[in-house]
Amino acid sequence: MKRREFLRNLVSAAPALGILAAGVKLGDYVEASETGRRTEAVHLYGMGIDVDACIGCGRCAVACKAENHVPDDPFFFRTWVERYVFSVDGGLRVDSPNGGMAAFPPSGVPDERRMRAYYVPKLCNQCRKPPCVQVCPVGATFQTRDGVTLVDPDYCIGCRYCIQACPYGARYLHPQKKVADKCTFCYHRIVKGLVPACVEVCPKSARIFGEPRQSNTPLWEFMKNHRLQVLKPNLRTEPKVYYSSLDSEVR
């Protein structure tokens, strides 16, 4: 009978325990909000990429690494620049030497054989429906309410599942921290009203940061005046990085 009473008491106490737990969490919320970002739910960040404007100087990739302390090795990038060179025989050469950080050497396709060529800056597409978030087994990668996909470095177990899941190759495993790392839209900057480092240093304004839902902003101006495309729209990831003049060969 004692056991039964205990169980009965436990059942009746459950709601009270729940309220207690919720109270603890609310306390956390107040504390977490003291950094002054109570309005984050009203934002929705995105970026425009003007492919026609990009000169392939790679300042964005350099600035990204400096701002976010991304390892120097030529295969860790939060953002990088790709070069697409089409030759007259229908061939296509895509390269990105060290992410374009030292600009680009001659492509090797002689001028008379070249048909068209351009640069494409790449970064995390900050999908509205991010496959990387879906696969995380511990809830360490997530989309903030202002639409930025982040990694919780203290909670990530380094299983690399998200790196596999990203269709854009935008993630890597940090060699020292052993956690997944990716573009954050320079979250620490945008919450202070600054633009991401890559946008800051772009000498051609080929990257335009803003909020796609807000009018009378540089991004709005860009989205108003260009035909836009996102990468791999067939995957229904709903990226918030919008490319103008995107060729079908760019994936």
């Binding site: 950094t35 697409y84 396709v109 809830g139 982040l150 800051e200 240093v201 000498p203």
Partner: protein, 168 residues
Amino acid sequence: MFERGLGVRPGRAAGDLMPVQVKRLMLLFAVAIGGFLVARHFLLPESFGLYGHYRAKAVDLVASQGLEYAGHQACPECHGEVATLKNASKHTVVACETCHGPAASHVSDPTQSKPELPTERGRCGLCHYYEASRPAGFPQIDPAEHGGQEKCVSCHNPHSPEIAMEGK
């Protein structure tokens, strides 16, 4: 045999509706579920699940990262003259830190660190050396033919790069 199976109920005392096996099984389940809830309470990080399936505090953690690039708004406060010159030139959309590098530490304490002052040809060449993939109309030069091996800055002021050519 069939009737015997229906009639005899092993393990159940007279008047008791629930077989003792079921009771034991229920106890087992109760312990397992209770144990799970207790373990969950202690293992679940604080602030997890406030906004979604993640630690709400991780947002603050990411947002607390320090700055390296101060942003172009910071520079004219002290360097107003050169900023005005640059903003009137073709380099108006080029941010100060595009060439001078990250300067947040310089902004927070101007005496302690100075941003870089690149003058080598290759630095200008990052944008202005001819590369066939660059958009048409963008000013580019062939480094082998343009300006000998002189530094670009000996003829061009990076803050106002246009040169008034004779006869133009």
